[in-house]
């Protein structure tokens, strides 16, 4: 292995290949299970937050916001208009829906107690007594496993009243979403959790002020919570050392696409994309053409750009993002226009439809790519794609519009010659534009 990082050791996945690793007994006997919680409960909440702050743990959901800082934003004693103390809520974002990302599912199925322990510690740190786990709607088995793990933890006294004799109470509730990608956005998740339409909220107010059910809430990713017990047990220094200067620890990288061993790998952040591809067994069935480094929303990288390191800042510098850690590798058999169209179809379907730009723009882009694939494209279209993306990015309530423009814009910028070839050739089949039946729909303008 070419980790070339002497401090590295797996934080979340040391035992995931061993049978029975998802059970509470295994977690306690082999993985220092709930030792971090024991230690945290003896500390003051502020000290726990400080520990996490110093570990440089950054949110693993996609935006990479420093976790300790997020926790410290939670108000200490929030009161409502009548002066009554408001409850605070901790929410786990397990709505893993980003195409190409499948790391959280590994935690749910293989080491759920690590995440539960992380949540209890976080609950102690922000003085919250209730946690919600918002699970992606399609995760039937995972929800069942998580519920079982929670039941086990309740039976052992890690959850419920007076945890480990410390006087701290914490309850966990599993809530299954209805299967919308947008509910992975934290405020849309909160809306969905409350039973409303899964649409992102206007910010401010931020969830730390007005979150779930109008109460101060803290939303974190599954992997973020799963990293917390290690920080408490082994100390922040060890965790911080594994990472880069501004971002501590390891990351779960889900490698998929044209590689020989597609899987979730736990890796340090000082690796380049090329290293990751090598770890995943190298490119399969051809030469490397493009890599999407952080889930579908991250702008693509050309093969020659794959020397970039995979920490948050280096990727941001390269014009893309670390995102949710889903590396999609494309070899040279792939037509980039077609691949991008596949992604855009997904976004077209998943836009919540609140903001004008995103609702109409994602639809427009997908239709445009389809037309180019069908042979109806013109040279002007390429400029117009850039213009549409320019009108979408950064103009909407949430980052969905930016996510749409990520693949669309980067594919046109970096693989323009492929688009031009399709335009000149007359589509994938080279037959020019085929009139579709629906074109003749009567009443389209009424």
């Amino acid at each position: 292995m070419m980790y070339n990082n002497e401090h590295f050791e797996p934080v979340i996945t040391p035992n995931v290949q061993r049978p029975g690793c998802e059970t509470l007994d295994f977690y306690i006997t082999n993985e220092n299970g709930y030792k971090g919680l024991e230690k945290a409960l003896k500390m003051k909440p502020a000290e726990v937050i400080d520990e996490v702050k110093k570990s440089n743990l950054r949110g693993r959901g996609g935006a990479g916001f420093p976790t300790g800082m997020k926790w410290s934003f939670m108000p200490a004693n929030p009161v409502d208009a009548n002066g009554n103390l408001k409850p605070k809520y901790l929410v786990c974002n397990a709505d893993e829906g980003e195409p190409g990302t499948f790391k959280d599912r590994l935690i749910f199925t293989k080491t759920p107690h690590r995440m539960i322990e992380g949540m209890i510690i976080a609950g102690h740190a922000i003085a919250s007594n209730k946690g919600f786990i918002y699970v992606r709607g399609e995760w039937f088995k995972e929800t069942r496993l998580m519920q079982k793990a929670i039941d086990d933890a309740y039976a052992k006294g890690f959850l419920g009243k007076n945890i480990l004799g410390s006087g701290f109470d914490f309850d966990l509730v599993v809530y299954k979403g209805a299967g919308a990608y947008i509910c992975g956005e934290e405020t849309a998740l909160l809306n969905s959790l409350e039973g409303k339409r899964g649409e992102p909220r206007l910010k401010p107010p931020f969830p730390a002020q007005v979150g779930a059910y109008g109460m101060p809430s803290c939303v974190n990713n599954v992997e973020t919570f799963a990293a917390v017990p290690y920080i408490l047990v082994k100390g922040w220094e060890k965790y911080a050392k594994m990472g880069t200067e501004r971002s501590g620890g390891t990351r779960l990288i889900g490698v998929s696409g044209h590689v020989n061993r597609p899987a979730v790998y736990e890796l340090p952040m000082n690796l380049s994309i090329n290293d990751i591809i090598e770890i995943a067994g190298g490119v399969k069935g051809g030469k490397l053409k493009a890599v999407i480094p952080g889930g579908a929303s991250a702008p693509m990288l050309r093969a020659d750009e794959c020397t970039v390191l995979t920490d948050y800042d280096s990727l941001a510098k390269a014009g893309t993002m670390a995102g949710s850690g889903g590396v999609i590798v494309l070899n040279d058999t792939v037509n980039i226009v077609e691949a991008t169209y596949t992604l855009l179809k997904f976004y077209e379907h998943e836009s919540c439809g609140q903001c004008s730009q995103c609702r109409e723009g994602s639809h427009w882009l997908a239709r445009m790519f389809k037309r180019i694939l069908d042979g109806g494209g013109t040279q002007d279209d390429l400029d117009y794609i850039a213009k549409i993306c320019g009108n979408m990015a950064g103009q909407t309530i949430c980052a969905f519009a930016d996510a749409v423009t990520g693949p669309a814009l980067s594919s046109v910028r970096k693989f323009r010659e492929e688009f031009e070839e399709l335009i000149h050739k007359g589509g994938l089949l080279g037959m020019g534009r085929q009139e579709s039946v629906s074109h003749k729909l009567v009443g389209a303008h009424v």
Binding site: E348, S351, H363
Partner: protein, 515 residues
């Protein structure tokens, strides 16, 4: 609230209502606290009330051009989704939606910078991609925000070469017997959804599906819309998606003459704008008045112009001769009535509570003398027996008392008709189409005055109507009403009466000339 407060009805182009529960503007804002924070908008500095959003500051100051908006409505919670109202705030990395961004002390805002205009052009470009180009047959044309903002901000041409989205089943869909939906024209601002959620609180409408499939539907498709304020949906729908069946395809909006008046359908006295062409009224729409009706009005009031535009309304003096009514002149009619009145042993003058304050004063003080006969003058309401019974029918506007001026008539010193029953031989009953009809004995002689339809005259309880003196409806005359909250509202004629009816004062003049 002062009882003598008089409001001149005029239409403010922009004003604010503070019913939004997301941004309670008034909550801790105290305009007396000095110094007030200052914000700079387009190079000019304004003081503002703490808590106002940029849009609200700009509107309250009324100092520069309107910030375009689709989803923002001052009477509803803020959504911030149409992204049309974005402005540039110095030191902010992105454009901010002015509807939702609270103004801060020292903030510098540009509402028409190059970046802002480019963004608005972008929004227009997106909204127009799927909007049908059917303005010539669209009922909203001429008063459509999409048209107006496209003229001002839109791109000169679109590069959209794809098929337009078509909601086949919702091209003409009846949401209720009052409202028709054309989903293809919808720009998804969701004002209508928020209106039924937060204003009427009936939750009648929902958006189903996501993204570009998003479609407006009645929450219960079988019931459709259930609230009593459905007409408001068409007022604030920025496009021709929601149209009112009562007005749909009756008149192009640019032919309409718009004059302010007061609705007389109940004691609330909502401020309205009468839209007419050639003195034929086509619709009422509400005018914002924070103290009376906010932005809204009920459907009952909105369609009440139909009573005055009724082709069966009596608009010429009618006299009964040999069992049939014949049109005649006011002089002949009033001479005849005078004869009846003088011959009678007892005469009562009953004033409906839909008379204006001025009419009530005239009827009480002058009319008996003009007839040369002492009369017992009283008022009759027909809906409530005392003012205490005038209650709100819902949390918004509708009232039990379906006449506009019970308080105003009472103020003139009139007493209610005893037991709602007429006892004299001859009755002169003045009513403008709203008040109830008192109990009558068979064959009591009746002279009707005011706004009547021929059916009402023929089916009058006593079956013995001698004559009808046609009068003017609220929208045709000047006067004032005192509403349920004790506010006196003056109004001027919104249209000219097209028949030969005369106002009460004119009839009094004719009576005088006869003496």
């Amino acid at each position: 609230m002062s009882n003598n407060l008089e409001i001149e009805i005029k239409k403010p182009k922009l004003d604010l209502n503070y019913t939004s529960d997301k941004k309670p503007v008034h909550s801790d804002a105290n305009p007396d606290v000095k110094p007030l924070p200052k914000v700079t908008i387009d190079g000019k500095t304004y003081e503002f009330r703490p808590g106002d959003t940029i849009m609200q500051v700009a509107e309250r100051m009324k100092v520069h051009e309107e910030i375009p908006r689709y989803c923002y409505h001052p009477g509803m919670p803020i959504a911030g989704t149409c992204r049309m109202c974005t402005v540039e705030v110095e030191k902010a990395p992105k454009l901010m939606t002015s509807c939702s961004t609270p103004a801060a002390d020292g903030m510098v805002v540009h509402t028409r910078s190059e970046k802002v205009l480019k963004s608005r052009t972008g929004v227009m470009d997106f909204l127009l991609t799927n909007h049908p180009l059917d303005c010539p047959v669209c009922d909203k044309a001429g008063e459509c925000d999409l048209q107006d903002y496209n003229f001002e901000y839109g791109p000169s041409k679109s590069n959209f070469k794809e098929e337009k989205r078509v909601y086949v089943d919702a091209t003409t869909k009846k949401l209720s017997d009052k409202i028709t939906l054309n989903m293809n024209r919808c720009v998804h601002c969701e004002r209508c959804v928020r209106f039924t959620d937060d204003v009427t609180k009936t939750n009648d409408l929902v958006m189903v599906n996501r993204g570009w499939h998003k479609e407006l539907e009645a929450t219960d498709p079988e019931k459709g819309l259930t609230n009593d304020y459905q007409g408001c949906l068409t007022d604030f729908c920025p496009v021709g998606a929601l149209t009112m069946n009562d007005f749909r395809f009756k008149k192009r909006s640019w032919f309409l003459t718009k004059k302010a008046s007061v609705c007389d359908r109940c004691s609330k006295g909502c401020n309205i704008e009468v839209h007419s062409d050639a003195d034929i009224v086509y619709r009422y729409i509400p005018i914002f008045n924070e103290m009376v009706n906010g932005h809204w009005m009920c459907d009952e009031g909105r369609t009440s112009y139909n009573d005055f535009m009724n082709p069966m309304r009596v608009i010429a003096p009618l006299m009964k001769h040999e069992g049939e009514f014949h049109a005649t002149s006011f002089e002949t009619l009033l001479t005849d009535i005078k004869k009846h009145v003088r011959e009678a042993s007892s005469v009562e003058l009953v004033v409906g509570t839909d008379a204006t304050r001025e009419e009530a004063a005239l009827l009480k003080d002058k009319v008996p003398a003009l007839f040369g006969k002492s009369m017992n003058v009283s008022y009759h309401n027909g809906f409530i027996s005392s003012l205490a019974e005038d209650k709100k029918l819902d949390h918004m506007l509708r009232m039990t008392d379906k006449t506009p001026n019970t308080r105003g008539v009472e103020e003139q010193g009139l007493l209610a008709l005893k037991n709602g029953e007429v006892t004299s031989d001859v009755v002169i009953f003045f009513r403008n189409g709203r008040a109830g009809i008192p109990k009558m004995k068979a064959n009591q002689k009746v002279i009707l005055w005011g706004v009547w339809t021929i059916d009402e005259v023929k089916n009058f309880p006593s079956q013995n109507v001698l004559a009808v003196i046609p009068g003017l409806a609220t929208i045709e005359k000047a006067g004032s009403y005192k509403n349920a909250d004790g506010i006196v509202q003056k109004f001027h004629p919104a249209i000219t009466h097209r028949g030969s009816a005369l106002s009460a004062h004119q009839v009094a003049d004719v009576l005088k000339s006869l003496n």
